[in-house]
């Protein structure tokens, strides 16, 4: 059972309810005449992922309340997410709080690599699960991962299919593709490239050694998503890292300035209430 969202409670309740109904409906020897047995249609028109969307909205509120930038990093296994995050955390941690959630099917090794870079990291072991969902992320969000004006990176499970569908409450998905993979990945996994705002083409230090046509890959990615921003970098050599770090800094500043706008609006509303309330007090005194 879970205090945050009441998960684990719903199943048993529904189960005992249906058993009780079944028991009521046994009329030994008699005809079954209960109206409940009449087939009827119920229109739902509900998104299958509606529940995930609710949890994602809850996470998003937590992030917005602190002016945090949250990025959901998605890729195939081995494209370099953790390596990139280690480099990124080291480069940015002195400018603002940097935090990491890692989703992995088995080990906590990635979180250890990140913590060694000097930033808080929490690992979610998804077991057989092939993606993170908003509910799991919500449970992982302890105080060490929430910081005013900070940047939280979520390293999703290495998988280019289903993480595309699960909103975690992030500001944007960042898809990482390395040049050791096929350049046709954007066509093979179009939903992921369509769902992402930025594509990082990683391991460009290996370009001389591999048969990877960068222009063709960029063309494929833009067919699926004409608005996709694309940066080329090497998390190993550091080439191209500056543009990525600038992208993150710009996003962090943007979230923070939106946060300031909201706080100022709240402040103005509170002032207005004080003036209005003061008037009422005066009236009652007179």
């Amino acid at each position: 059972m879970c205090a945050t969202c009441g998960c684990g409670e719903s199943e048993p309740v529904a189960h005992s309810h249906s058993q009780a109904q079944d028991a009521n409906h046994h009329h030994p020897g008699g005809p079954v005449h209960d109206h409940a047995h009449e087939p009827r249609r119920i229109s739902l028109e509900q998104d299958i992922l509606a529940k995930n969307a609710e949890f994602a909205a809850g996470n998003r509120r937590l992030f917005a309340d602190r002016g945090m930038l949250v990025l959901n990093l998605v890729s195939s296994p081995g494209s370099g997410k953790t390596t990139l995050l280690v480099q990124t955390a080291q480069a940015l941690r002195d400018a603002f709080p940097v935090m990491v959630i890692g989703g992995d099917q088995q080990t906590a090794r990635d979180a250890e690599r990140i913590r060694a870079a000097g930033v808080p990291a929490v690992q979610i072991n998804t077991g057989k699960g092939c993606h993170l969902d908003a509910h799991g992320v919500g449970h992982a969000l302890d105080q060490s991962l929430l910081a005013e004006g900070g940047v939280l990176f979520i390293e999703n499970v290495g998988n280019l299919v289903c993480p595309a569908d699960f909103d975690l409450g992030e500001a944007a998905k960042v898809v990482i593709l390395s040049v050791t993979e096929g350049e046709d990945k954007p066509l093979k996994y179009p939903n992921m490239f369509a769902a992402s705002r930025l594509m990082l083409l990683n391991k460009i230090d290996l370009l001389p050694h591999v048969d990877f046509d960068v222009d063709r890959c960029v063309d494929y990615a833009r067919r699926v998503n004409p608005d996709l921003q694309i940066l080329r970098l090497s998390a190993r050599s550091g080439e191209g890292m500056a543009a990525w770090l600038d992208w993150v800094r710009a996003g962090q500043r943007n979230e923070l300035s939106q946060h300031i706008d909201r706080l100022e609006a709240d402040l103005a509303a509170a002032r207005a209430r004080l003036i209005h309330g003061g008037g009422e007090i005066r009236r009652t005194i007179i």
Partner: protein, 113 residues
Amino acid sequence: MHEFSLCEGIIDAVTTQTRQQGFSRVRRVWLEIGALANVELDALRFAFEVVRDNTIAATAELDIITLPGRAWCLNCAQAIAVGELYDPCPLCGGYQWRLTGGNEMRIKELEVE
């Protein structure tokens, strides 16, 4: 892969309805799935048969209605049909279009008793 999670979402939504609408069995579930949605229909059908066990929908049939891919081409300023996310506009050959339909994953209707 995530078809199991989707089916858990379906069963969860159906179970919530049980409490609100008071029925004891689900006979049929109608889904609307967009042709460009990130779903393998065979995997979804298979997952449904596994996930429905020991629930109110244990014997429910699954009916999947496929919705076509539709988009708005910014270049042509006109509605177009698309078969894949990487298809060019059939009119101008460009890719500057926005999906307006075809990525749905919805529970449309239930038949219950």
